[in-house]
């Protein structure tokens, strides 16, 4: 009799929790593929297509399907590292086939040469170019991701990719070198230590 009660109780519990789980799976259904979104948010969103996919999201989808994580040159090593952390795989060096990591750049239109053909506007994935037909065009530097896509379509070749120079606000320290010869070269980067070293208190 007790056995029967136990079984009945367990069955009842199983039904109740099953129902709750079932309800939750419908009620709190996750839209989209969360891992793709997570990967996508780690990619630099330049939409440059250097990874050979038509944008960051498609590459994120490909990564979720097992594509290599080292194909994004604008993201560079930091992105690879972050992806490796997220996906729990070993980071690999950047695949040189897709380009090299370079300093951040921003597009600049040589404005007196622009003929106002609007081709660059059509190419820019983030609407960072301002202009109208037959008018001089200009790049909104703060919106430009440096993807390079507007350079090719310009018929008069008046768009330059200019490296973004660090300012006092954006500058940060370099990584201290750990090899012997470079220490002498970069010694200003090292702590100024007192002649007589004391002991820890």
């Amino acid at each position: 009799m007790t056995l029967l009660t136990a079984i009945l109780a367990l069955v009842a519990l199983a039904l109740v929790f099953g129902a709750i789980l079932g309800f939750a799976s419908i009620r709190f259904k996750v839209e989209g593929n969360p891992i793709v979104d997570q990967i996508d948010s780690l990619l630099p969103q330049t939409q440059c297509g250097q990874c050979s996919y038509p944008g960051c999201k498609p590459y994120a989808e490909a990564i979720a399907d097992g594509e290599k994580i080292n194909k994004c040159p604008p993201g560079g090593e930091n992105t690879i590292q972050a992806l490796a952390d997220l996906l729990g795989v070993e980071p690999e060096p950047l695949d040189a086939e897709h380009g090299e990591e370079s300093v951040t750049k921003v597009a600049v239109i040589r404005e007196d040469e622009c003929i106002g053909c609007t081709k660059c506007i059509q190419a820019c994935p983030v609407d960072a170019i301002l202009g109208a037909a037959k008018q001089m065009h200009t790049v909104i530097a703060s919106e430009c991701t440096g993807c390079d896509l507007c350079v090719e379509p310009c018929p008069v070749d008046c768009i330059d990719m200019v490296p973004v120079a660090p300012t006092v606000q954006t500058w940060s320290w370099e990584q201290p070198s750990t090899t012997a010869d470079s220490i002498a070269a970069k010694n200003d980067n090292l702590i100024i230590t007192d002649k007589g070293r004391g002991a820890a208190a």
Partner: protein
């Protein structure tokens, strides 16, 4: 006065050699006035200040040069009177060695003060006004980073400050500026505390001074005793044990109150505000003397200078001057440091100014600061963790920073590191730990920035995608609506036409038999075919001059049917309200033109009926003949247009196979030729009897008008076919052969158009010899224009070919992705290769043409740039582009030409480079490059000449 204050201890800390006695022996001395002062606009944390003066301005001592730009910013004042000689980018004393905008003042030695604003009765002044006063006088933190003081003193609403802590610890070795300040100007410090008391209303104030400065402690205590009235709260001086880094803000707070500032919060959250003694003194100067922050006490020390001591230095004084005054021995100077030996940074030049945060200039010899030893591996001794005042695990952080595992470093509270350098100091392996941490912090900040930026870019990208999708959907909807309306109209018309034809000409309705089957679109095609067939006889029949009523009848009834159907379609469209206003207007215009056509046709029919008996006479009367021809012409035109429209609709709907499309296209072009034939005949007839036809006789321009119409129609036809071709190209379903067939057709149409245009021009020049030079100028296309047309065409083709190639690529990719079988992929790949080849061919053609165009343009340009006397010469006039009379426009064109040719040249050069890299044969390319270069040079020359001409 016994001031027993309970003190707490901090974790870790170190005892480096103090080295303070070298510089704290002598009293503060003043520096002779430097000749030049250099004031960077950024001497503080936050945004650079905004200039309020310009070059050449005379400024007075204390006059504002730049004002705070934003909340976290500070203003800047002239340290003495003088003239502003330059404002330019100069290297600033900053660890980065970067440049920033700097004001250069040539001092005049007069020390003329501007009007000063003094608040003597500060104890009865609104704290807000005091804060504004502090802000206006450019006060920033003098101890460390230079954070704008007014910002730090503006508490959040819910903060109540109960403890004011004044930092006089000065724990870094070598530096004695605060010690001298407290020793000699204790009253200033106490006055400043009293001002702060008015602003913050604290319950107590503690001044923390290390016990190696007992002279300063005594001076402060004496001063407090002398100021009982202005200090309505308890002020105590605490002598704290000497230990580095007790002067860190959080460390000092912990020593004096026992409270730890939690991770991620600021002292104000605990009801504490901490200020440096130097800052407090500066506040008192600003309020009581009206003197903005224009000078500070700077320690000059180190074995490379003979006269070590503390100096009242104007902000902007070149460090060179300061060192020279102290007797620097350049040969011994090995390392120049701003700040202390623990947290300062090396300067690479003496050509830098003293700024608001320069508390110490350390000119060290090699014995004092030898190059650091080579770092060894971490031996996990744990000394760094023992020394760390922030209770971090430096060796852990070191690993993460070194391998750039920033997430983990952050997790181990990297941002709690105060960069004191205690860990590096004790590390037996000489690992530059704090440098690694600075790097990691910078890296994390950069990553955060990058992440914000990428989120922003993503948002913008998605917004753009949405916008494009919406536009596309709208276009699609419009297209569909149009297609539906057209299909409906066609179907109805078909039925009507069938009826009409069966009555009027039973022999011609055979092809319509299959029109009743299949869907609407098929019916539409069939209808088009049927109509074209049914109309051809009409146009053929009109060519003989015998006037037959039958064709008129047919024409009339067809026109009527067309009109009625169009009307019906329009009504239907209006009712459903699916169409936009413009579309309706368009349709209405269509309907009314159809109506007119019908009325015309009817009139003709009536005329023909009436005049049947005098037909022979009409035959001889050219005017009638012309009319008949006109009718025929307009009919064929209508037919052609309809067919064209049907074709367009079908194409847009995109449901037809490629063959069907080509079939239709050929129909359309046939109809067009018919129409053109008719037109030509009409024109010929008109021309042949110019005196007999009333209109032609009355004015020769009528003929030109007709030609114009013909020409513009031909042009429209050409453009349409071009568009059709483009569309079919883009939709990518048509094969290469079909495309090339279409292209041929397009070209044929173009030549027709060009012929028509030429005829028109001929007619114009023949009829109006030089009577209307403007018209003539407009009409005569410059030679480069024709070239350009060709070039444009080829360019269009090229880009199409490129698009095709891209599509092919995509197809291959897709096939690959979907894992289609090998043969299929192979096929696609060959197609891709073909299209790429086509593209390349076209591209080279394009480049050649581009060269030509440019060459022509350059020639023309040089012709244009000739002096204006050449204008009367008719040949030159003909050569000149239409914009000739507007020199700026002309110049613009020339500029475009020049930059285009430059681009072409550069592109070619790049290609050449690539070819060379790939080891291909480059002789041809080289030739091209040099040709392009000459073209560019010509164009450029023309441009410069034109520019010069314009300027003169």
């Amino acid at each position: 006065m016994s001031q027993a204050i309970k003190l707490w201890d901090i974790h870790g800390g170190i005892h480096p050699e103090e080295n303070k006695s070298q510089s704290n022996q002598l009293p503060i001395s003043t520096l002779p006035l430097p000749k030049k002062l250099y004031l960077p606009l950024q001497q503080h944390i936050g945004s650079p200040s905004e200039l309020t003066v310009k070059i050449g301005d005379k400024v007075l001592k204390g006059q504002r040069l730049a004002e705070a730009n934003g909340f976290i910013s500070a203003s800047l004042h002239a340290p003495t009177s003088g003239t502003i000689v330059s404002i330019e980018e100069r290297q600033i004393p900053h660890a980065s060695g970067l440049t920033a905008e700097t004001i250069e003042i040539e001092t005049d030695g007069l020390e003329q003060w501007c009007e000063r604003e003094v608040i003597t009765d500060y104890l009865h002044t609104d704290p807000i006004a005091l804060l504004a006063h502090i802000r206006n006088h450019g006060i920033t933190g003098m101890g460390g980073a230079g954070f704008p003081t007014a910002v730090k003193l503006t508490p959040k609403d819910d903060d109540h400050i109960d403890t004011l802590i004044i930092n006089g610890a000065e724990c870094e070795p070598y530096i004695t500026s605060d010690q001298l300040l407290m020793r000699e100007r204790a009253d200033q410090v106490i006055d400043g505390i009293s001002v702060l008391g008015q602003i913050l209303k604290p319950k107590r104030c503690i001044i923390g001074v290390e016990d190696n400065k007992l002279d300063a402690v005594k001076a402060l205590r004496d001063s407090i005793d002398a100021h009982p009235k202005t200090l309505p709260f308890e002020v105590k001086v605490a002598a704290i044990p000497t230990k580095y880094p007790s002067g860190g803000e959080k460390q000092l707070i912990q020593i004096l109150t026992g409270k730890e500032v939690p991770h991620g919060s600021i002292p104000a959250d605990l009801g504490i505000v901490c200020q440096n003694v130097g800052t407090v003194a500066a506040i008192s100067k600003a309020v009581l003397e009206g003197e903005p922050l224009i000078s500070r006490i700077t320690t000059v020390t180190g074995d490379a200078v003979s006269q070590k001591g503390n100096f009242e230095t104007l902000i902007g004084t070149p460090i060179e001057d300061l060192l020279a005054h102290c007797g620097v021995d350049e040969s011994k100077l090995f390392r120049l440091i701003m700040g202390g030996p623990m947290m300062g940074f090396t300067l690479h030049s003496t050509d830098l100014p003293v700024i608001k945060t320069t508390n110490c200039i350390l000119a060290a010899t090699e014995q004092e600061f030898p190059n650091p030893a080579q770092a060894q591996d971490c031996i996990r001794c744990g000394m760094c963790a023992e020394a760390c005042p922030a209770e971090l695990l430096p060796q852990q952080l070191y690993w993460f920073s070194r391998s750039k595992e920033f997430d983990k470093a952050k997790h181990f509270n990297l941002f709690d590191c105060i960069e004191c350098g205690a860990c590096s100091f004790v590390c037996p392996s000489h690992i530059p730990l704090v440098q690694h941490f600075r790097f990691a912090k910078g890296g994390i900040r950069q990553e955060e920035q990058a992440h914000i930026k990428s989120e922003h870019a993503k948002m913008r990208f998605e917004a753009r995608q949405d916008r494009l999708a919406k536009e596309e959907a709208e276009k699609e909807a419009r297209r569909k609506a149009r297609a539906d309306a057209a299909a409906k109209a066609k179907a109805e018309k078909e039925a009507k036409a069938k009826l009409a034809e069966s009555q009027e000409s039973p022999t011609t309705n055979t092809p319509t038999a299959d029109a009743s089957e299949g869907d609407d679109k098929k019916a539409a095609i069939a209808a088009a075919i049927a109509r074209s067939k049914s109309k051809k006889p009409a146009s053929n029949e009109t060519t003989p001059s015998s006037v037959d009523i039958k064709p008129f009848k047919v024409a009339s009834s067809q026109a009527r049917a067309a009109h009625l159907q169009a009307q019906r379609a329009l009504n239907a469209a209006k009712e459903t309200g699916e169409l936009s206003k413009e579309q309706i207007a368009e349709q209405e215009a269509n309907v009314s033109s159809l109506k007119k056509a019908y009325e015309d046709a009817k009139a003709k029919l009536d005329q023909a009926k009436n005049g049947n008996t005098v037909a022979p006479a009409q035959e001889q009367a050219p005017s009638v003949d012309i009319k008949a021809l006109k009718v025929a012409s307009s009919q064929t035109r209508a037919a052609y247009l309809k067919a064209q429209r049907a074709f367009d609709t079908a194409k847009e709907a995109g449901e037809l196979s490629a063959e069907q499309l080509t079939e239709q296209a050929s129909e359309v072009s046939k109809l067009q030729t018919d129409y053109e034939n008719a037109k030509a005949k009409l024109d010929a007839a008109k021309n042949g009897s110019p005196t007999q036809t009333a209109e032609a006789a009355s004015s020769p321009t009528v003929d030109i008008k007709a030609l114009k119409v013909a020409s513009s129609q031909a042009r429209a036809a050409y453009l349409k076919s071009q568009r059709a071709y483009d569309a079919s190209k883009e939709d990518g379903s048509t094969s290469e052969d079909e495309l090339s067939a279409q292209l041929k057709k397009v070209e044929a149409l173009q030549s027709t158009y060009e012929k028509a245009k030429a005829a028109l021009d001929d007619a114009k020049s023949g009829k109006t010899p030089a009577s209307n030079p403007v018209a003539k100028e407009k009409a005569s296309p410059s030679p480069s224009e024709t070239f350009e047309n060709k070039y444009k065409q080829v360019k269009v083709e090229t880009s199409q070919a490129r698009a095709a190639a891209k599509q092919a690529q995509k197809a291959v990719d897709e096939a690959n992705e979907q894992g289609k079988d090998e043969t299929q992929i192979k096929e696609l790949e060959t197609a891709l290769a073909e299209s790429v080849q086509t593209y390349e061919k076209l591209n080279s053609k394009k480049l050649v043409l581009q060269e030509k165009v440019k060459a022509r343009k350059a020639v023309e340009a040089s012709a244009v740039s000739q002096p204006k006397e050449s204008k009367p010469a008719p040949e030159t006039v003909a050569e000149q582009p239409p914009a000739e009379d507007d020199p700026t426009k002309k110049l613009k064109e020339l500029k475009v030409a020049a930059s285009q040719s430059k681009a072409a040249w550069r592109k070619l050069e790049r290609e050449l480079g690539k070819a060379q890299e790939a080891g291909e044969d480059t002789a041809e390319l080289e030739q091209k490059v040099s040709a392009a270069k000459t073209t560019y040079e010509q164009a450029n020359e023309a441009k410069t000449t034109a520019m010069a001409a314009l300027n003169s």
